[in-house]
Symmetry: D2
């Protein structure tokens, strides 16, 4: 049994990690820390966990966390990079669900996140935890940067096109839509029910922190220079991301459906749907699956890709558990076989 610790479990990523880990056959939950909620039983804050998780939030303690096999950080950026050095020094593996290790270039990180990176050496050795791209490196990693939610949906959607060199990489468009849980559990006016329900809007059009992360990932798939327009939108629903991707084919593309099926053949958590399918976000609600469909409308030279995930699962906690499974040689699907809740 793996001893698992969680730092900062009071948000939606935290409760989702707990839901998945509490049902994982090879995991023993050892500690979940929260400075502000120390002493409160986890199941009091998240009543769905009553009868499943007996832990209470505890003060962060290097001794307790240092005795774990793996520690997940479900914290705002800036926390993981402070605590990771001491943990890996003690032989603990780290999976950061925040942004601290996602951007390889410290200058880019500082530009978008507004603080300098404090452990660039660890940053250099950390691995970007998108298993469909980096599985071998993940196996040996000590520190995993778990991808952001939008970046997961967008990168998986563009991957076959860029790897095959079929599209103009300089004019990619990702029109992405996320449920409100992506904004976290912090009390803010713009995510109040009465503000976010029965309405829809874009945000971050001028620039969103996931833009450099996605661009970096796409650049690794293609020798061409990446030009990406990324427009996120806020959906009046709780869970789910739908990325609608547009690219211009450079030449005859051949059978795109086959390309997608072959690219993801054998991937346990990517489902290329039959031609003509329309992936619904609810088809992955609570599940660690990315479902994808590819179109070439009216036979023109614009290819359209539809990619859906649950932002809290394949877009966060589920992918983190998938990374843990890979790192520790467990079956990659261990603890991740839940069927999406529909309706």
């Amino acid at each position: 049994m793996l001893k698992v610790g969680i730092v900062g479990g009071t948000g939606y990523t935290g409760v989702e990690l707990l839901r998945l880990l509490a049902q994982h056959p090879d995991v023993e939950l050892t500690a979940i820390t929260s400075r502000t909620e120390a002493g409160m039983p986890v199941a009091k804050m998240f009543p769905n966990l009553r009868g499943h998780v007996d832990l209470a939030f505890s003060e962060p303690s290097i001794d307790v966390l240092g005795a774990c096999d793996v520690v997940f950080f479900a914290t705002p950026h800036g926390v993981a990079m402070k605590q990771t050095p001491e943990l890996i020094a003690r032989g603990v593996r780290v999976i950061d669900l925040g942004a601290d290790f996602r951007i390889a270039d410290p200058a880019v990180f500082e530009k978008w996140y507004g603080l300098p990176h404090s452990c660039t050496d660890i940053l250099a050795e950390s691995v970007y935890g998108l298993p469909e791209v980096n599985r071998e490196a993940i196996k040996k990693a000590r520190v995993i940067a778990n991808p952001g939610c939008y970046p997961t949906a967008v990168q998986l959607g563009f991957l076959p096109l860029l790897k095959a060199g079929l599209v103009d990489a300089s004019h990619l468009v990702a029109d992405a839509k996320s449920g409100v849980s992506g904004a976290g559990r912090k009390a803010e006016v713009h995510t109040l029910f009465s503000e976010a329900a029965e309405s829809f809007r874009a945000y971050g059009v001028s620039g969103h922190r996931h833009l450099p992360e996605i661009s970096q990932g796409l650049a690794r798939m293609s020798p061409e220079k990446i030009g990406l327009t990324f427009v996120p939108h806020l959906l009046p629903m709780i869970r789910g991301i739908h990325a609608t991707l547009y690219a211009t084919l450079k030449a005859d593309a051949g059978d795109l459906q086959k390309l997608y099926e072959e690219t993801f053949a054998g991937e346990p958590f990517v489902d290329v749907m039959p031609a003509g399918s329309l992936p619904e976000t609810r088809s992955v609600k609570g599940a660690n699956t990315c479902r994808i469909a590819v179109y070439r409308p009216q036979g023109a030279d614009t290819v359209v890709v539809l990619s859906v995930i649950d932002n809290l699962v394949k877009g966060a906690a589920g992918q983190a558990v998938q990374n843990m499974n890979i790192m520790f040689g467990l079956p990659e699907t261990a603890g991740l076989t839940q069927i999406a809740l529909l309706p």
Copy 2:
């Protein structure tokens, strides 16, 4: 492995049964029938099942169903009572998620459901499948009437009070609210998104088919004559029932919290929450749990009980699986340990 058949799996109860049974360690899904959809892969209609359920809908066949250990009916009323005699003659156990065996008195059944009962002998031997009340009888039953969704939430809520004889049984009030999935997957105007969202209303105030079922259940808990006012309402959400129950205490009631905790001690799927709790329907979304809280506001003689379930799980498919587990001597919680999805 139990061989399991499902008759009529194209509705929400059907897909929920499939979700639970596909993850059940002791079940082999043998057949799922639908006259209208025969030939269609189940996972095409319900894409959340892609990769988990390979079956296609098939024409109903007594030979196929007759070879099962247990057959679930997820059909409108009138279907199960036609097919059950032949199935039990072949030694198949039957669990009807519809209403055919819920009402013991055939005359009452005919009054509320508008058709005569066609197998009153089987009706007489059938068992009302509310495990918290009837566990011993369920073990030996050949035919189970799986309770309705409202009746489950309301009966469990009133049970401690009526068993203890604490309240005036002649003036009970059940103000119940259900998510829209309770109305099923049939195309009807009043359950369209644009009709049911951002609105709330009562229905069936003059009389609802769950009224006689609840009254019959409550009558079995108390020697007094039952007088129940039952008002169901339609909530602008998909899953969940919240029953708010009101009764007048006949005398000093003692410690109601303790009464509830003792009544349900050892019940795996009833969670009496700590005093002062406010059960949320989302705390049981996707789980086979009924959470209950009991209040005596302002110290007056009116007791208020809050009872929540997921109408498709403890109110339908989950309770059906629980009944199956009991009938076949499996652990009662087998296949039913999912944690509710929150948020």
Copy 3:
């Protein structure tokens, strides 16, 4: 043209007042104050007002407000009672949409609101602004306590029964459900979209501030002692209140439908629906109407009343404008003829 000021217009009650007053034929909006937002154009915070309201929020100023004919307070409790004395000294009429003047007994006010009342003389002369009960007094009032949202729906629903002395006043039940906008525009975790959507729960079961207000109102309708159990619930929608009321008939009640129709005959904003109707909250969304239906299920001695309002209109801003119209001798419906938005 009436010169109108608003104190504290950054909440939902404030924007709703602006929506109604901007379309009122006899009103000139003079000032809207907010300490925290002074200088910000109102239409920047509430973009629905772009092109309709040119005002910016301003610092509160007694000189500006003192030059108005009427000032609305859309503030938390405690604010209006501080500023009202000076305003009425300058001849300004005051309509408080908060709670400061709703509870006649200062001791009861202090118990439920946690602060002593600072102007009990004005409290004594203030009028509870429920026009269907108090129209004559409103005409002459200098200070109006605009009723709370739940109290409006519940009092109008019980009024005919209590006035006629038909029910046992000591065991009334009000099971009330409100959209999330009733909780205001303050950033709080429990009203976040991801907390309040796809879920339903009760709150304030042990005691809610609207309980003493409702009880006081009901007591004025009946010589009997009032015993009320009031359970509010949070609906996963923005606007609307549905109160489901239960009472036990003392004797033969006669024609309840006729009683309700006669009681509210001539009332411009109470619509007694035909027998058998099921009022939907959406049928009053954005409108100043209370729709009511009355039932006697199964012919038993429990009467059920369904009463719906828009909590922000008849439950707040609309009723406030209605009170203004009455106070200034305008047609009672001036500026209040909007048709509800459906769907």
Copy 4:
């Protein structure tokens, strides 16, 4: 007073027309027809109209409709083109909210709508009723093709760019999202609450009937050949369309904000928001307004336009009333000054 008739008023476009026309100062509602609902009071089907509209649905009658000044068709395609010839022969103006007169080329109409056009001469003289483009022609028209909802949002959004010749017209992308009311009030499984809530998906990716309508409109704005990729999506909300538009700038574009402001200067129903704004669909809920923002993210050569409307108002009934006002020389804003409902 204009005498107004409505053919087919049982859908959402119909009730919205009624809401607007009942409050229009210059309109007298004369008849509203429905074969299936003849005899039923309109306010029984749509209770928001109680007290505002006394009409009952009536059988279609050429004599009644022929006595109107203007008749609105809120019918499926194929109906208006049958009845329009007789109406205009009697001097009645016709505004078709359906698709019969939207596509100028009968062959294109037949291809997308599956039936031949039955009155191509009237089609030839009919005017596409997008006032911001066709105001002068609308004034003199006998027959108006009221634009579709998506086409309104998309055409207004692209108009300044195409008129100015700034973008590559051959690779336009319109990623559009609509609330469920756009699918109408017909009972269908995919628009049930339990299907459409808490989920999001694209549809019609291979080809949607609004594609040829939009392409035709864009072609009228630009001498270049139009290549448009149009992907509509279904939002889990009732009202509102958000079109996110992408185009590649051909050369330095100058000040796009200024271009948009100048293009729509004086337009009563197009609101170009300040630079950096994020139009929300709720800011136009119930209002006849299109709000637009324009961006050039990261200073690259992709321009992004955000365009929001209420699909039932500026996207249907409101625009139809606007066309009526123009046709009859009324103030263009008559009856259309409602403020959007927020929250």
